[in-house]
């Protein structure tokens, strides 16, 4: 009888420790998840800012100005364009 009791007590203690360990593990994983989610959000914000920057640099007005002034480009005039019809 006593042996059975001792066994049960041991089992209870072991399972209690298991619960503690599992809980700890869960919290650790959760905080890792949390960190990653924050990072993902941060990256998304950065992506938005980069898109904004890209659009600013690629604004048509700026591209046209640079093409005309720095590169000396101009639109082709009549006769310089040859249109090829697909056969």
């Amino acid at each position: 009888m006593i042996r059975l009791d001792a066994l049960l007590v041991a089992l209870v203690v072991a399972s209690a420790l298991g619960v503690v360990a599992a809980q700890h593990q869960a919290r650790k994983l959760f905080s890792a998840l949390e960190r990653e989610q924050t990072r993902a959000h941060g990256l998304e914000v950065e992506w938005g800012q980069l898109q904004l920057e890209q659009s600013t640099w690629a604004a048509h007005g700026r591209v046209e100005k640079l093409a005309r002034e720095r590169l000396g480009l101009r639109p082709p005039v009549q006769g310089q364009v040859v249109v090829l019809e697909p056969q």
């Binding site: 869960a26 919290r27 959760f30 905080s31 949390e34 998304e44 914000v45 938005g48 800012q49 898109q51 904004l52 890209q54 659009s55 600013t56 690629a58 604004a59 048509h60 007005g61 046209e64 639109p75 005039v77 009549q78 006769g79 310089q80 364009v81 040859v82 249109v83 019809e85």
Partner: protein, 586 residues
């Protein structure tokens, strides 16, 4: 012999001898038991029945409700280029009564906030419980302020919207308030779709303030949806820059341009002048904010004439070759006289449109009852909103046919006594471009038309009128300057007097509405310039704007030229010769 011991009974105490009444001990026992019962009962009550209060109190010590921010949707053009993006910023606020700054700290804070120490102190001296020190700071500046660890100074996450298109797309997109809610333009029209819905969740935090467990999601955040506009960034820029240059050249008061895709009814570009920079909205005036293409109506003038010609052809009473006598260039109806700018003599219907003869148009119009004309104009969408959801969309004025006097019917045929918005005009011209049917316009990209087209004219009539419009935009017409190398174009000029205080004055609205390429239209472009100086005919002021937009747009869209162009062989020869050729053709 032992002495008989004296028996001493220590317990022989008279006091002890007195027996206590049993009820007393029982009473004490009962009282104690009663107390215990009360305690157990209270405990049971608190644990089992009335446990909310204490649970809430307990939770307050470890559970927190966190706000989960949601971002506002982005606005892109039809090719996916970003035109409005929200990014997080911080606002710095203070509880003035909690703040006590050392002079050094105040200087540091003021420098980070980019304001004077005096200004900062003034904000902090106000007796309020809450004061914004500065809104919409960049996150890194906010972090440096947070690093100062000043009591009573707090920060708050917010979003700020940026418009990389700047003034080019200002009127199309509109803008948002400091709270990131739509105020104007697309931002307001599509507010429901763009706005995000912040969520909240309950979490458990540990001693160090870190979240250790997610308890429940109270409301999941919903990010705003992106809006894909019908606008084409390239065409929008072309339209804007062509309009801006014309505005400068003619020192005009205002102007607007609308470009519509003929196949789908999509609005590819919409520009207004004067404009504003949506990223810096200090010192804005009402004139800058006005989206004239949508909200302003004007008397369109001669751009209405082709509709009368179409009605005339449709009825069978006229053919394109029917001759109309417009001499002596004047026509008297009742007490009023209508005149032409030049005396043309006998013109065909096609020539009436080409030369833009008021007398010829009126003679055609008076063959119809007011009802017939009203039905035509109503069917073309004049006098009713386009229902694009755009804020402040104008209705225009088309009075019921019953109230028309003959002189009014006559003036309406050449675009006076009726008022329309530029976008309505562009829409109505779709009927000519689409072989007689009309599509609803769309500000967002559509891959298949939303509604079935509505038939207005028969395809033959639409093509015939298109031919007349091509003549008007050609040599001998009113707008040879609308011509574009490589493409056939068609269109009609309008030069209308403005009304001030009920009187026509010597101020003009010059307009041009046209389509290109004329053989198989792809674009409808409507241009309006308000009060140009130096020249005022639509053919001189508005038509070149049309030409510039069409030339660039058709190239951007990859539309094959439909006008025979003599290939310039020089382009393949040496550079010097090519350069001369270029100079000549310019």
């Amino acid at each position: 012999m032992m002495q008989k011991q004296r028996t001493v009974t220590f317990n022989h105490n008279p006091l002890l001898k007195r027996e206590l009444p049993v009820w007393r001990s029982r009473f004490v026992l009962m009282v104690l038991l009663g107390c215990l019962l009360v305690l157990v009962g209270r405990a049971l009550f608190l644990q089992g029945i009335d446990n909310e209060f204490l649970q809430a109190k307990g939770e307050m010590r470890y559970a927190r409700v966190l706000e989960v921010p949601a971002t506002r949707g982005r606005i892109t053009d039809r090719n996916g280029d970003m035109f409005a993006v929200s990014t997080p910023v911080r606002s710095i606020w203070a509880i003035p009564t909690d703040v006590s700054l050392e002079p050094g700290e105040a200087r540091q804070l003021a420098r980070l906030l980019e304001m004077d120490v005096a200004e900062l102190n003034a904000k902090l001296a106000s007796g309020r419980d809450f004061a914004y020190l500065k809104r919409q700071l960049s996150p890194d500046v906010a972090e440096r302020i947070a690093a100062l660890k000043l009591t009573g100074i707090h920060e708050q996450r917010e979003y700020r919207r940026f418009y990389p298109g700047g003034e080019v797309t200002a009127h199309m997109l509109g803008f948002t308030s400091v709270e990131d809610r739509g105020q104007e333009g697309i931002e307001l029209a599509y507010e429901a779709q763009l706005a995000g819905q912040p969520g909240s969740r309950r979490v458990i935090k540990d001693r160090r303030g870190q979240v250790v467990e997610d308890v429940e999601s109270i409301r999941p955040p919903r990010d705003g949806e992106d809006v894909v506009l019908a606008m084409d960034g390239k065409i929008q820029y072309l339209a804007y820059s062509a309009l801006r240059d014309a505005m400068q050249k003619y020192r005009a008061k205002a102007g607007a341009v609308v470009v519509v895709d003929v196949q789908t009814g999509e609005v590819l570009a919409l520009a207004n002048a004067p404009t504003f920079n949506p990223n810096n909205r200090a010192n804005l005036t009402g004139t800058q904010l006005r989206n004239r293409a949508f909200t302003d109506t004007f008397e369109p003038g001669s751009v209405m004439k082709p509709f009368v010609a179409a009605l005339a052809l449709e009825s069978g009473k006229f053919k394109a070759t029917t001759k109309i006598d417009t001499s002596p260039g004047r026509l008297t109806i009742g007490s009023a006289t209508i005149g032409d700018a030049h005396v043309h003599g006998i013109l065909t219907v096609a020539e009436v449109i080409q030369k833009s003869s008021n007398v010829g148009t009126v003679k055609m119009a008076l063959q119809f009852s007011p009802d017939e004309m009203w039905h035509l104009l109503d069917g073309l969408g004049f006098g009713s909103q386009l229902n694009l959801g755009f804020p402040g969309e104008a209705t225009g004025r088309l009075r019921p046919a019953k109230s028309w006097r003959p002189i009014e019917q006559a003036t309406m045929s050449y675009g006076h006594g009726i008022s329309v918005s530029l976008i309505q005009l562009a829409h109505a011209y779709l009927a000519f471009a689409r072989d007689g049917d009309l599509l609803p316009l769309s500000l967002t990209r559509v891959d298949t038309p939303k509604a079935a087209p509505k038939r207005i004219f028969s395809p033959t009539v639409a093509r015939e009128v298109r031919g007349m419009l091509e003549m008007a935009a050609g040599p001998g017409g009113t707008a040879p300057q609308a011509q574009v190398p490589g493409y056939r174009v068609a269109g009609k000029t309008g030069t209308a007097y403005k009304i001030e205080g009920g009187q026509y004055v010597k101020k003009y609205v010059s307009s041009f509405v046209g389509l290109a390429p004329a053989s198989r239209p792809r674009l409808v472009v409507a241009v309006m310039i308000d009060e140009p100086n130096g020249a005022h005919y639509g053919g001189a002021v508005a038509a070149p704007v049309f030409a510039r937009i069409v030339e660039g747009s058709l190239r951007a869209l990859g539309v094959a030229p439909d006008s025979p162009i003599t290939p310039l062989q020089l382009a393949r020869k040496q550079g010097a010769e090519a350069a001369t050729a270029v100079r000549e053709s310019m």
